[in-house]
Symmetry: D2
Subunit: 305 residues, 4 copies
């Protein structure tokens, strides 16, 4: 076994990540179906792996950065794959964003070969990867996390150990759900602002000064619903009323707002289920209660760092 790192998948994200590893001095064996991508890394001093099996045999850590779970399974499984050819103790660190159930299956398979999985998807954009400023959400055992940490530090600036293997990808899904949804919410809000004839810079200045920035999750939630306090600051009933005004005004102004309507019905259901008098952050509890999910709570006294 050597200190060489395998890196499979040199696309728009994988290539700068591998380059940063190489630039920080890691020995690399790389692979991609795009020969040019491989050549670019070879020019930086990496070795082109002859095959997946070859890379598995000579590296203690193999990184995959691939489009979907199908490609990850294709390189990990089977007689030519990573698990079948790696020495015991080898870590497969998958940095792709894939179905977390596939990660679970891969991890179980890894265990049969004495190898382990780490899932460490990336939380920022390609240009951050270019500058070695990525954010990583890591699911790994404590030991594996310690082993891969220097690699992650060579590629990024924010590294979160979320729990055992599988938690990295799941945290990324929670995160990206919020981030992408915010885009849509902002989009609908700006469309409404436009149709209302508002001056966009004035609207933005107001939004920057209120909880319309998602400071709620940092500022209100930990002290309210996540601490088990749903006493009303602003009730679900009042939130429902405001949404009624929003949707009616949007219809009068001919602005379609599918997400506003979906949220409205969620609050409508909360009202119907007799949660109208609790604080509107308590909608988190309502969602969980209806779906028989344990309510989210932070430890007593916990504060954001």
């Amino acid at each position: 076994m050597t200190n060489k790192i395998g890196f499979i998948g040199l696309g728009r994200m994988g290539r700068p990540m591998a380059s940063n590893l190489r630039k920080k001095g890691f020995e690399l064996a790389v692979h991609d179906i795009d020969r040019q991508a491989v050549d670019a890394l070879v020019a930086l001093g990496a070795r082109a792996g002859a095959s997946i099996a070859d890379i598995a045999r000579e590296c203690r850590i193999v990184i995959t950065m691939l489009p979907t779970h199908l490609e990850v399974e294709a390189v990990a499984l089977g007689s030519d794959g990573i698990f079948a050819n790696a020495a015991p103790g080898t870590i497969l660190m998958d940095m792709s964003t894939i179905d977390p159930l596939a990660t679970d299956r891969l991890s179980a398979e890894a265990g049969k070969h004495g190898t382990t999985m780490v899932d460490a998807p990336v939380g920022r954009l390609a240009e951050h990867a270019d500058r070695g400023e990525s954010l990583f959400m890591v699911g790994a055992s404590e030991t594996d996390f310690a082993t891969v940490k220097p690699l992650l530090e060579a590629m990024g600036t924010a590294i979160y150990h979320c729990g055992p293997v599988g938690t990295g990808g799941r945290t990324k899904l929670v995160n990206n759900y919020i981030a992408i949804t915010l885009c849509q919410v902002n989009g609908e809000a700006l469309a409404l602002s436009q149709r209302f004839g508002l001056d966009i810079t004035k609207t933005l200045q107001v939004l920057y000064g209120t909880s319309a920035s998602n400071g709620q999750l940092r500022m209100n939630f930990p002290n309210k619903v996540l601490a088990g306090d749903t006493s009303p600051g602003f009730t679900i009933d009042l939130a429902h009323k405001d949404l009624s005004l929003v949707v009616a005004a949007a219809h009068a102004a001919r602005v379609p707002m599918p997400v506003a309507a979906a949220v409205h019905e969620s609050f409508s259901q909360a009202r119907a289920a007799e949660f109208g008098k609790i604080d509107f952050s308590g909608i988190a509890d309502v969602v969980c209660e209806i779906a028989r999910i344990e309510k989210p709570r932070v430890p007593e006294g916990w504060k954001p760092a």
Copy 2:
């Protein structure tokens, strides 16, 4: 005409607002259907108005803080109402959150009596009002804004002049749409985190470090879509793919996510309409284009203050 201020509506918000005006030395004539609420203000030195008409006759500025547009219309219109009894030049400053079309109608009616309207709804919670720390979104002419500003400064700490009458309430609707929707989004995200078995404090720490806080609206939007730049950092196609993973994982974990599904379909429509290759902040443009709304743009070189 005097310098007395009329204040009609002494509920959970109106009462501390009126109290703060009184404490800062404004002469007040107050009215509410709840006699106790009136008495509390009288104890602070306010006068109990004999009737709406009486208040209208003796005050240059009359503030209303009422539940819906029906109550505002009831006090403003008709032979016993504010407009019919106020001296020309009187300002009705409605601080309720009401249908903006009702504000437009009231403003037109005010004009027939030589009076004017200001709409100045409140953007924070009742406990902020208690401490005189409210935020106000004000729709008013420049002259009226200058006249009411000292009152607003007595009741709050953040005062935004959004444009002419009608823009205050409209800005509030845009703002509250986002703020309330964020609650629902956070609720679905936390339910997913719970069902995934994630450690909530670790999930929160990650979310605090990414664009899942709505910093997007401050940090990305003004430089990207709002400046007309939809070149891809993270494409709509990739956002759609991530949402597919989110929704599939949520279903596997039995977490209902109605808002995620609505957002997913919005991105699905954007893809189908051939916007898949632009940046995901460009969803704001897509929403506007499909609905024939002029795309939102900030002036060249504009930066958040």
Copy 3:
């Protein structure tokens, strides 16, 4: 008091309805803001009412067919309105489609003048009205229903007495919700069929032979969920699985299906709330249970006529 019928509102629906009354021999006093519409009825032998009050004074039954509750309130209320000028015992039969809460308020007001309300909105299209083939959903006391029935029979072919005043409009809302939603559902389904490259006539032939026609409501529901039987023919879990296939296939084919997604999440919630094993018609019970609504049940042994 005479046998004359008042008819206020001679638009696209009102005009043929009034014409049919006149052709069947009813004496009419008519009113509309459009003079031409009035003239057309006068040419058929109707009298042009001098005013609303005038019509109220001379007719035992006054019909309104107006755009929204605002217009109905404008002609019914106030000192010049129907109630203030009608003889006790007069019936105001509103055939507009309006907010049922407005109907309730109008009915209460009618009672103060010794008059009564009937709400009888129309359930088919303008061309049916032309041919005297409308469908009416009637909310009225037994006595009032008997009084207005001959008029309804002159204008339509299907007359349903739904219960006391207010039930006509409410039944229409339930009905139109389904009818309009079916259009959207059919639209999404046909879009999917198109993108799948299916032969539309073959798809239609299949749909005509299955429960995709809403025969469910006639054939399955009364024997299953509405009789309290939710034992599984086809479970909510299987329905959820099929919807997963639908939405995934639609995404693969780039077909946005917002309603499919909303339905999917409703079934997702039903699964999470542990209703996965009951029959899929039982979703009606689930919706009611979550919203604390009494479950809908037909009397034992009830069969569609």
Copy 4:
């Protein structure tokens, strides 16, 4: 090659289907992981296949009736699978409901072995299968359809040849989307009816007499939008207005209606995109236009059989 039929998958649907084949005299070789299910068929005179390969070798037609595409792939592919062991000309008729892209992949694979695929999912319930009254949607070449038709006639009463392989499953998805969505729509409508306090049997009688039964698809669509005629009988604008009344009344009555809200926004978007004046069946065109899908049209003069 023999006339024996292979049947793999003897669950709640497969078992009665295989039984009916056997009762009508077909020779069967069967397989299931549940030994009892196999024994039940053996008792009817079927042979228990030694293995998938064994069945493939001795049958000209092999039927699969399995839970998901994973199980179908497991029996069809690989060196022990159907394709590798079947004689050229063998037909694999998959009657499961699976991802149609999997069917496409399986069909391509079949071709490499000189075999062919038919997809023929089932469109009615298990109790219909018990009685040999199933409905089948069949994707098959003309030749293959002729070959499998006698089998289908032994198991069902309604057999639709939808087009080449892959069209059976796709038609089923279109069909089940509508059928399942109708359940949800009926559920929301009945919840609304309940909260409105309507007599359910009276509501049902009205619904049975109107287009709230999905007769629209049979009666209006072929003459209107599907014939390219979107001249208004009932406009999208009016449909939007009625949905506004529905949703507002539902909120006043505390009935959550997520599907109504989603439909409302779809009509809202159609209005914003300037389709407000066309017939409401034209929503099918709007959905297609926004998503760049060719509009669905039946041949000139086409009538439902």
